[in-house]
Symmetry: D2
Subunit: 382 residues, 4 copies
């Protein structure tokens, strides 16, 4: 899977980010440990120059993990020196960007490790933890619908604090009335779709989705496998039975879209999602809760699971907001150049650090991606 990278690479690359965009630029006299790292750990910044093929990340036996830790220590030390100085506002902003960048890679380490361990027939476990016996009485709360009136709504980030450039500028959208499901779609609901021959019913699928399903012979979410008549799936806690009450996860946009069509609903647009999220506190099952797995929705009268658990595919393509300007310089490649052939996801997952998320946060992946913690919330017109 070319999307996943080794943890060692993530550590080196986030270190590289600070070295390249801050130390080399802002700390006079800074000396790198190894000039070759500038090329070696560049991910996709063309303005910085050449970079190795993505597939090479797994093949690089050098530098060793020890050398990468030494690199990190060297850069940390220099960053502390830099931070002890009186820095201009745009430099401070770059430091904050570097920290948010690192948070993103913390999430990627978890999803990439999950992928790597699941692909390994040894059945390795990221972290052992006692699993409660599957309580047959466990169930998700009933799915209800929350209505939102038509209107002109502000969308995008406004105010103090950090945001990515793709959340700007704050602008207005007009929304028709819409409804949002009170919780995420569950494994049990998704099994109904599978049982109803969802993966074999062409009229439920986008054309590209159908081609993808057939080419990859998908018959279930990523990580699911059939054992003795029951579904199991790989988790960071090893291979576990699929619990019907938990949110379904590791689905592509194509599957989310087909499920919604089967259910007589649709996915929310990212504007609808953002408007609805304004009534919710940013809390939930994030990396901070240390479950590293989506949890059964809590009971409650308000919208639940809007933040954490799984990224929610929206029906919106990842495009520029009206008036969007990428930040100047090489870090301007961070977001803007990926605005084609991707869909927006919202809300964060059980692998996201909670402090990283906002209601205006726009995540994006190509419609066939499945290895992130990605799931479904249904929407509909009113």
């Amino acid at each position: 899977m070319p999307d996943a990278s080794p943890a060692k690479w993530h550590l080196a690359h986030t270190t590289w980010f600070f070295e390249t965009f801050l130390l080399h630029e802002q700390l006079p006299g800074y000396k790198t440990i190894n000039p070759a790292f500038r090329t070696l750990f560049n991910s996709y910044y063309d303005a910085i120059g050449d970079r190795p093929l993505r597939a090479m990340r797994h093949v690089l036996s050098r530098p060793s993990l020890e050398e990468v830790h030494a690199y990190r220590g060297h850069v940390d030390e220099a960053m502390e020196l830099l931070l002890s100085r009186d820095l201009a506002r745009d430099v401070v902003d770059l430091v904050t960007l570097g920290l948010n960048h690192e948070q993103q890679h913390q999430e990627l380490i978890l999803t990439d490790v999950k992928y790597g361990l699941a692909a390994n027939p040894l059945g390795s476990v990221y972290r052992e933890r006692p699993v409660a016996a599957p309580a047959s009485e466990e169930s998700a709360p009933e799915l209800t619908w929350h209505s939102f009136p038509k209107g002109i709504y502000p969308i995008g980030f406004e105010g103090q604090g950090f945001c990515f450039d793709n959340e700007l500028p704050c602008h207005h959208v007009y929304l028709e009335p819409f409804r949002l499901a009170s919780r995420l779609v569950t494994n049990g609901e998704y099994m109904e779709f599978m049982h109803d021959r969802g993966y074999a019913t062409v009229k439920l699928w986008l054309s590209d989705g159908w081609d993808t399903v057939r080419a990859n012979q998908w018959v279930a979410p990523l990580y699911w496998e059939r054992r003795d008549g029951a579904w199991w799936h790989s988790t960071l806690n090893g291979i576990q039975p699929v619990k019907e009450a938990e949110p379904v996860c590791h689905l592509s946009y194509y599957e989310a879209d087909a499920f919604a069509r089967w259910a007589g609903a649709r996915l929310a647009t990212e504007s609808e999602w953002e408007v609805a999220s304004q009534s919710c506190l940013i809390g939930g099952n994030f990396m901070d809760s240390d479950a590293l797995h989506p949890q059964i929705a809590p009971e409650g009268v308000s919208l639940t699971q809007m933040f954490g658990d799984v990224w929610e595919w929206t029906g919106s393509a990842y495009l520029a907001y009206p008036g969007y300007q990428p930040v100047p310089g090489a870090v301007g490649e961070y977001n803007g150049k990926f605005m084609s052939n991707q869909m927006v996801l919202r809300g964060g997952s059980c692998a996201s650090p909670q402090s990283h998320l906002r209601g205006t946060y726009r995540n994006f992946f190509p419609p066939h991606a499945r290895w992130q913690f990605m799931g479904i919330r249904l929407a509909n017109g009113d």
Copy 2:
């Protein structure tokens, strides 16, 4: 080029459309000439069943053109019989759909023939016509900007007459103030971009666009070639010198987007385009004018070239309008299932029949497509 099909296939496929969706369903006792055609000339309707690989279209030496004409005559005759009857409204709608479908293939025949003749080293010409000596004094009118205020605008089709399901339902969008260029971008303006190393400047490009440019070694629009220091291009009238004052054409979305970024502008959203078009009459350089090539913009104080000449790439992904429902049955595959990984184009081209177009008409192609008459109109915030 897998997107292009032989003219014989287009003729057979449009005939197949009437036979499959009307005669087999609505004309009792209808007998086909050849039951194998049901499979053979299916383009992409999964509900109808199997179909040959797209690449096979060029390889099929049977049926002959004479047999296809006989097929057409047979179907025409049966259609006349059907049309002489008293038909239900939904049947009449299917006939209208079939006619609009055929108009789309009339345009495709022209663009596919253009592609085929241009790829053939014989330099064949679709239709000889005298070319006026390139008048050095020819020039396009100065590009000016037309401003549109913010507001809530209706988008989508409303009223009598035919439209495709993807133009429905009529709904409202809120737009920030925006400006639209008075005319299309010209070959001369595009040459400036090329001269300024536009194709070699990574920061102007979307990431997927940059990959596409490098993989295909694009350095100019499709059909352009350099001869003795000047640019020439294939037209339906043979190989001709590129005239600077004419609209640039045969560009991908990636190139349109990069050009706009270079020019300090952007592409319009499809909503912006549709709102602006409401001030324009539906007229211009369509197939009906028989030029089959984009023409120099006329002088004038209003927006020009909004309809005809070239399809205008918008910055909008091709997605469902809020409340969209595909029409029931197999013809529901016409539009809806393609709503991923494509961008919207607006306005029609010199190869479109004028009666086929509307201000609400949504054309769509993947961002790398270039073989339709596709060009650029600049937009910007106000």
Copy 3:
């Protein structure tokens, strides 16, 4: 299938051969009908210059068949003029090469037409001909073994008359004693292999063969399909029941090799085949007999079916004979440059003109090729 070309192309290319290698070089004042043909109809002669991609052959709508016939007439006329003169020996040799080249394309037209018609769901027939009702009593003669002693044998062409450069020089090989089967392997025998799960038994296959079988999901020879519990196959006479007594045909080298292993035998080397063929007259079921399909082996005490019916895969890679020299000039690309990754076939087929064949004739195809009339004769050590 990229290997197959349209009949129109074959006609134009064989004409091009005479024009390029003879008329342009040897007939002063010769004028071509169209200089673009020099590029357009070049197959693989790099010394002649550029050529279109092979896949383009099917897409070229121009020149028309009428224009190709006119091209042929023009070249025929000029060739007659040339032939009326007193020609040097090497010029006469080129004419002979051109005639043999044309014979090869006569065979290719038949196999390419067979492929094209079989791929077309219309079930078209190259030539209708009454098929005798499958006589259940028809059977192939019993397979017996013919022994050949060890010894030093001459291999390759010697004497008067034409041969290709790859049959030269005549040299000697030492052969261990070997046995050759009296006739070709039949459909019935091949069905036993299939029935014995030959296509699913990995240990019977070369590694590349196994990969090819799985990637293409081969379960039977090319053109075979199952209908109501019986095997049918496409022939130039339309779709017909597979007759058990006829030679099996349209197999890759991988299948021939796996069958032989299953049968406890092996394929002959090309030297063994050539030595054995010296006892046989060059006669049999060639194109001249107009059956265009392999026929049941005749009864007889000698080796049968050595010539005609099907090309026989040998276990020999297509390599240079000791002392091999390609003929000088561009026609030297005819054979020599293909001496890698191909296997030798011997004996000609029911689509080969009889006058084209010799006991020393070396045909060659990549091991996965199946669309020629290709079959199996078993061999073994003694």
Copy 4:
């Protein structure tokens, strides 16, 4: 490069070989450390069952190197127990096969490490060693030709001791008189070919070779790069200047073949090479000499460098000897199933253990392979 594997994998796979073919079969009560290893470290033995995709070898972070060493220790201990018993002849033969298998992987570790370090921009060095300053006076001995008479020669292994099944049975071949070059082709000689536009001269190349050169944009041997007007290459001792007097190395069959044609010569057949080698002692620059790099040919009147330094491409396809039988059981997949689309190399390299080699030893790689220590010895007819 999918052909290269991590050193950890080689260690685990050679251990797996002993466990799978000896301990599980021959040591009653043997318990594996981990049953998943049976699948995980299978390279290509279909009879053993499933195996991971080759590309996965680099991605497997588990088991760790420590676990693989523990696996090795466990297997070594059990093997010592097994070897202390009275073993049947065929069991002893399997042990010997396992040792020879391990020797092959010792060579592969070196070539794979070389590939991995060369691909890594860090410029890591396998083993630092002082390099003598390039002595301008260093030169290779003059190339002379050794003649061999025509005759019937024995080919293949005979006698006591180990050989692979593909060296059997010993049989006879008839050879025309031939000549062999006294030493390997040097870097200096190969530079002349490059300087003479060898890589751009189509008529020197096999058709597949030309396609490969263009697709990969080869302009020099693997590992060569141009710096300030001089050629350097990656070695296990880091990046070093190319010395003209040393044997050229890391060439594909296509390049060896093209060079020989340019030089007015050809490659030897494997029979010719084997006959010639019978006059040479098995000694030379093997792994045992610890140079890990081909060395300048010694002066001398006899053939030099026949063993060691670089594997010598022959003009022979890798095929079965007459009467060849693979050894029974799963280890029968060792050699026989690769007998298509590969060419034979002879003589061993500077990375081969000397005790592993024989005059009858047949190595084989596809014609495009370059990452082994592969070079050229010229041959010709007499």
